[in-house]
Symmetry: C2
Subunit: 212 residues, 2 copies
């Protein structure tokens, strides 16, 4: 089956696949205020996390201050596992966030389940690479909005927890370009903006065909 013949939906997976493989071991719950650091680059990798409520960004900085957001994590999704003993990224709460925290022990006991999570993360990263590597600004925003929607079960009404700057750093654009792309999608009636953070997807199909 070739890419050309596939509907765009298959590019984006609902978060169930991530949620379903959560580690059943013992864990505690912690609350993080908006903007608070969860772990930093260089920290030992010894926990992994599941978002209960709220949202998280994982990112990296270049020495000149450029930032690349590698992933966002919404309610139900897991993150924090990395190759090696040290984190290579920063993780921060975007809004007030509650996390279930799993210790090293649970991690070792569930390599089977973690493998599924890691492979899902890999698939996401590679899909993201496709978007950032080969699509224009409007296509990137379309793919981003669809992805967010699909990860929440296909809801039409989206509340964006992240700022334009976060989105820009995730998609490899600037805030201005993100803003202009949003405006274009609005003008074409593919989406509607109640306010900057509240997006309604009017024509998911059309949005979809934009990003293939």
């Amino acid at each position: 089956m070739y890419a050309a013949s596939q509907p765009a939906e298959q590019s984006f997976q609902p978060s169930d696949s991530v949620t379903s493989a959560s580690i059943p071991g013992p864990h505690l719950v912690a609350t993080y205020k908006s903007g608070r650091e969860i772990y930093a680059e260089g920290d030992a990798v010894e926990k992994c996390y599941q978002v209960a409520t709220g949202a998280v960004r994982v990112y990296r900085l270049l020495s000149d201050g450029r930032r690349q957001v590698v992933s966002f994590h919404l309610a139900g999704e897991m993150f924090g596992f990395e190759a090696g003993v040290e984190h290579r990224f920063f993780a921060e709460a975007i809004t007030e966030t509650r996390l279930a925290v799993f210790g090293r022990r649970s991690i070792q006991e569930y390599s089977r389940e973690l493998l599924a999570l890691a492979l899902t993360g890999l698939a996401r990263a590679q899909q993201h690479l496709l978007v950032v590597g080969r699509q224009c600004a409007v296509e990137r925003i379309a793919a981003f909005l669809l992805d967010l929607s699909n990860r929440q079960g296909g809801v039409r009404q989206l509340r964006l927890p992240m700022s334009r700057q976060d989105i820009a750093d995730y998609l490899g654009l600037t805030i201005e370009t993100v803003s202009r792309a949003m405006t274009k999608l609005k003008e074409r009636r593919l989406i509607a903006l109640r306010d900057a953070r509240t997006v309604e997807i009017m024509r998911p199909d059309a949005l979809c065909s934009l990003c293939n």
Copy 2:
């Protein structure tokens, strides 16, 4: 530890980490001619592979023909594991290539080892994302050449198995831009080109500081 204070080397890992975790189960060896398909999008995921000699590209196509190469795999490196039951990418031999092929059984028995591989793949994909998302053409080429060099133990003399088109599709550029960037690096005496496919890295340090 912050990104700004780290030498760029730490961004690139030698392939040992991939090689060392290879699955010790039974396997057969197959030979692929240059350009031959190893698996296609939509194929069932039931094997995984280790490159004995040669090189492999893993990529995806958009409906309009744009191609994103997601990864290259050199001698010693493993690939082919993906989330879900179907491949979402194509894999092809770039040059004449010999592969060790592992069956589904070995895969299930070694989830521990595969987890390490998957996490390494994830780290690579995220590093690649950083390059494609936030660096300019010359920086991308510099990062690419350094990565290739480091994956072969830091050799200075590189034989590129892939074409300019492959590199362009890997870095999210066009062949022309790849060519111009190479020329610029040559003019600055950071690299030397014996011919288009044979690169000598003259100043690894300078190349490194280019891509942070």
